[in-house]
Symmetry: C2
C-alpha cells in the first residue's frame, strides 16, 4: 500500500485538518485514506500506508467508530477485519456535525442554563448573566435550526441552499401571504 504523491498530499492535508474537526492528525489521515480508497482496508494496510504503528491504528479505528465514521467489513474466508467509510461524504460530514454538537454545544447549553437559572448575587453577575443568556439563545437557535435542516431531504436542502440570499424574498412573500 503505497500512495501516489497526489493521494499522499490529500491524506496529509486531512491530517492537518483532522485536529480542526475534532480528532487528531493521525485520525484525520485515516479518514482521508479510507475515503479515497475504493476497497476497504485492513488495519495493517492502514498502518503501512500512513507509516504508523499497528497499535495506533487500532486506537484510531476505535475513536472513528465512536464517531460512527467507519464500518467494519468481514470478508468470508478471511479473518482480517477491513474498514471503510460509513456512508457517503455527505453522511460523514453530517455525523461529524452531529457528534460535535453533542460533545460541545450540549454541555455548554447545560452549563449556561444552570448558571442563568440561579439569581445573580452581585451587579457583575447580573451583567454576566445577561451575556450568558445571549450565548444561550444563540446556541439554542442554531441547534434547533440545524436539527430542522437535518430533517429535510438532501434534495430539499440543496434547493434551500441554492436559493441563497433570495430566500429572504421567499420569506417576505410568505409574510404577505399570511397577512392576507
Amino acid at each position: 500500500m503505497i500512495l501516489s504523491q497526489k493521494l499522499e498530499n490529500f491524506v496529509l492535508h486531512c491530517g492537518e485538518m483532522g485536529s480542526r474537526w475534532g480528532f487528531n492528525r493521525t485520525i484525520g489521515q485515516m479518514v482521508g485514506l479510507l475515503v479515497i480508497s475504493e476497497q476497504p482496508l485492513s488495519a495493517n494496510e492502514i498502518a503501512e500506508a500512513l507509516r504508523i504503528s499497528r497499535g495506533n491504528v487500532s486506537m484510531g479505528i476505535k475513536e472513528l467508530q465512536s464517531w460512527q465514521l467507519v464500518k467494519v467489513i468481514h470478508v468470508p474466508g478471511d479473518r482480517k477485519e477491513y474498514y471503510a467509510p460509513n456512508g457517503s461524504i455527505w453522511d460523514l460530514a453530517n455525523k461529524v456535525f452531529e457528534e460535535r454538537r453533542k460533545r460541545e454545544i450540549d454541555p455548554t447549553l447545560t452549563l449556561l442554563r444552570d448558571s442563568i437559572i440561579e439569581p445573580a448575587e452581585s451587579n457583575e453577575e447580573a451583567y454576566a448573566q445577561e451575556q450568558m443568556q445571549q450565548i444561550h439563545d444563540l446556541l439554542e437557535t442554531v441547534t434547533k435550526w440545524s436539527a430542522e435542516l437535518q430533517r429535510l431531504s438532501p434534495e430539499q436542502l440543496q434547493t434551500l441552499m441554492k436559493l441563497g440570499s433570495s430566500v429572504s424574498k421567499v420569506i417576505d412573500l410568505k409574510d404577505k401571504l399570511l397577512k392576507k
Copy 2:
C-alpha cells in the same frame, strides 16, 4: 479581580471549549472573561483573574486580535490598554465562523481543486478524484450558502431560523411559484 464561583465556572468552561473553536484553553478563557465583564480589562487584570503570566496574556491578546475578537480601549490620562469584546455575541460568533472558514475550508478547497484538475494517473486516482470532487462540491455549496446567509440582516436570519421545519413549506411554495 477575583471571580465568583459561578463566573469562574463559566470562564473555565470557555477554556475547555476554546480548543474546539480554534484557539487554546487560555485564549478561550480570555474570551469568556472579557465577554462577561462589563468593564474593559487591562492585561494585568486578565492575568490576575486567570492566574496566568503577563507574557501569556500578551500573546493571547495578539492572537485574539488576529481573529478580530477584541478591541483595545484607551482611557484618557491612563497609559494602560484596556480590552473588550469586539462586538455583540452574535458578531463574535460570526467572526469565529468567518475566520475558521478562511483558515480551514479555503485551503482545503484550493488543494482539492488542484488535485482534481490534473488527470488521474491510475484507477485508484480516478476513484480518489471522484471522492475529492464530492468533498469539493459539499464544501463549496456550504461556503457559498454561508456567505449568502451572512448577507441577510440578523432579523431576516432570525426569521429564517425560527421558520424551523416549515422551511420546507417555503421551499414547496417557491417551486409552485416557479411553475406558474
